[in-house]
């Protein structure tokens, strides 16, 4: 087990390296010269050349890549071209609302998803199963931006339960800060719940066919005990994989949802950076999501070993 963990940690290095390569080259192929954008149309050629030199943009791409990589390893993502601050600092400041939304959505999505999945599996081919299938299919088929606008329209504009958009940090306003985050979280949770419910249902149906479940049934145990005590734990493996894989999708979803609800998180920052060609910020935002995905999936793989002793690693 220890060897496996070490091996997996070492494997992170090439993957994160390739992630960095992709992030760097995608962003450096962007059209529009950032120097011209900073200086405006009136700038002379010499001015442009001077600023390029001071930003190190006059060197060949490969050289820039390795210098950039060395800086990133030191935790320096460069200066934002618009926010006039180090990107790493801005990113950390902006993480809070994003993570709050993501975690709220994940908790909601997991609880609703697993519940729907169990209900469907236990009532296989009955009305509740059909209901749960329909809800989870809708969850993965409704565009999140449209759902966000619908929720905003009904609950903020018409009913006035939540603010229409914006955000106030927890430190300043306390718990009413959550009022800004609930609708974005529900939007993202809906899709997660759909994905998780589908996986829970099929895993649960597989488990319920096993011999030991039949034994438990013939012992006279109630369905509740069979499901929650015996079957659930054994159906969780694929569900955990889905959760791990889709947390990054969730973070990607915050790009859209934060933009709609005007919440100053990392996603809102990323979209704005893309519109303004603020390259260091785009790079940092892309790497942020990818690295979280990679690390989370390492944990998912490791958790297999704990949940299922039958899985042996070499």
């Amino acid at each position: 087990m220890r060897n496996y963990i070490i091996k997996r940690l070492l494997l992170l290095i090439p993957i994160i390296f390739i992630v960095a390569v992709i992030a760097f080259f995608i962003t450096n192929l962007m059209p529009g010269d950032p120097v011209r954008v900073i200086l405006g149309n009136m700038a002379t050629e010499t001015e442009v050349a001077r600023v390029k030199e001071s930003l190190g943009l006059d060197q060949p791409l490969i050289m820039r890549f390795f210098r950039w990589l060395a800086n990133i390893i030191k935790g320096d993502f460069g200066e934002s071209l618009y926010l006039n601050a180090p990107v790493a600092k801005v990113l950390i400041e902006r993480m809070r609302p994003t993570f709050l939304i993501a975690i709220l959505a994940e908790i909601l999505g997991i609880s609703v998803g697993i519940l729907l999945g169990i209900l469907a599996a236990v009532n296989h081919r009955k009305i509740l199963d059909q209901f749960s299938i329909t809800v989870s299919l809708l969850g993965i088929s409704i565009p999140s931006f449209w759902l966000a606008l619908m929720l905003m329209f009904v609950f903020s504009v018409r009913l006035g339960w939540f603010p229409v958009s914006g955000y106030e940090p927890f430190i300043e306003v306390g718990f009413s800060s959550f009022r800004y985050l609930i609708l974005p979280a529900i939007t993202l949770a809906f899709m997660q719940a759909g994905l998780i419910a589908r996986m829970t249902r099929s895993a649960m149906l597989d488990t319920l066919k096993q011999d030991y479940i039949r034994t438990a049934k013939s012992k006279g145990l109630s369905t509740k005990i069979i499901v929650f005590k015996h079957a659930l734990k054994n159906s969780m493996l694929p569900v955990i994989t889905v959760i791990g894989h889709n947390f990054a999708v969730l973070l990607g979803g915050t790009w859209i949802v934060e933009t709609i609800f005007v919440i100053p998180g990392t996603g809102f920052m990323a979209i704005n950076a893309i519109m303004r060609r603020d390259i260091p910020v785009i790079q940092a935002s892309i790497i942020f999501v990818a690295v979280i995905y990679v690390i989370l999936n390492l944990f998912v793989d490791l958790s297999y070993a704990f949940l299922n002793p039958k899985i042996r690693y070499h």
């Binding site: 090439p14 993957i15 994160i16 390739i18 992630v19 992709i22 995608i26 962003t27 192929l29 962007m30 059209p31 299919l137 809708l138 993965i140 088929s141 409704i142 565009p143 999140s144 931006f145 449209w146 606008l149 619908m150 329209f153 504009v157 099929s202 895993a203 597989d206 493996l237 694929p238 990054a248 999708v249 973070l251 990607g252 979803g253 790009w255 859209i256 933009t259 990323a270 979209i271 893309i274 519109m275 785009i282 892309i286 999501v289 990818a290 690295v291 995905y293 990679v294």
Partner: protein, 280 residues
């Protein structure tokens, strides 16, 4: 074809329902110009923000354009993008997947690169690429294909690996069949099911993501009709003209829902073992 044979035997209800809806959608998008008298991009200042009526079945938007007409042309764009993305992901994912699965020498390197690519959520790659290359139909198609092909490649790869050492492939090899013949005749033919299932889900995803990109303004450029961009327009008029936002949303949901339903049905029908292989 295996699929038709199996379908005749089981008559899966998901597949029947979804295919009927999809045929209707395909009909609407193919014959859009014949089904409406209005032009999807011409403004009509006298008929701005009209509620649904006999003349304007789903009302009009802020420029007086007929919403029903724009929906028809919008779903047409979605279907074009979806089909093209499916085609490209199957081709590129297929090539990369077969290479990695069949030639184990390059498998490790290819897999590492695919792992890294899959660390980026599709929508993030697509937004970034669309922003680089600029908005436009072709660029979205390329961006989405690039975002989806790693997953397809992995699916093809595992199908190839599970087939390439089976006895019948070995015997083909031992009588001197060339690699290309083995790959096309034996391996690809028998890994068609997981590819078809994934392609169907990719179609659904491509429609959703094209709408999201167009909504954000990095997709199809206005005034060209796109369901996502229609929602952007409708946002401002949500209170006074709710039909503007309801219609494109419901159209997207219908198309995506029936594709997902079809994917589920195909998976049940074609691959009773897929569930088990996915778990490993």
């Amino acid at each position: 074809m295996l699929f038709l044979k199996k379908y005749k035997r089981y008559k899966h209800p998901y597949i029947t329902t979804s295919i009927i809806i999809l045929i209707i959608i395909a009909f609407l998008s193919l014959f859009a110009p014949l089904l409406t008298d209005y032009n999807p991009v011409r403004n009509d200042a006298r008929n701005r923000l009209q509620p649904p009526s006999y003349q304007h079945f789903l009302g009009t938007d802020q420029f007086g354009r007929d919403v029903f007409t724009r929906i028809l042309y919008g779903i047409r764009t979605s279907m074009e993008v979806g089909l093209a993305v499916v085609l490209l992901t199957v081709i590129f994912g297929g090539i990369v997947g077969v290479m990695a699965g069949y030639y184990s020498q390059i498998d490790k390197i290819v897999m590492r690169i695919l792992d890294a690519l899959m660390a980026f959520p599709g929508i993030i790659i697509a937004i970034s690429l669309a922003a680089i290359w600029g908005a436009g139909k072709l660029n979205i198609i390329l961006a989405l294909s690039f975002a989806y092909f790693p997953k397809m490649a992995r699916i093809v790869r595992s199908a190839v690996i599970s087939i390439k050492d089976l006895d019948y492939v070995d015997s083909a090899r031992s009588v001197g069949a060339k690699d290309s013949r083995i790959i096309f005749k034996y391996i690809l033919k028998n890994s068609a099911s997981p590819i078809m299932v994934q392609a169907t889900f990719n179609f659904a995803l491509a429609i959703l993501d094209e709408a999201a990109l167009s909504f954000l303004g990095v997709g199809i450029m206005p005034p060209a009709p796109s369901l996502g961009a229609m929602v952007t327009d409708a946002r401002t008029y949500m209170v006074v003209a709710p039909w503007m936002i309801l219609a494109p949303g419901i159209m997207i949901i219908l198309a995506v829902l029936s594709l997902n339903l079809l994917g589920d049905g195909l998976r049940d029908l074609l691959d009773p073992h897929l569930k088990n292989t996915l778990k490993k």
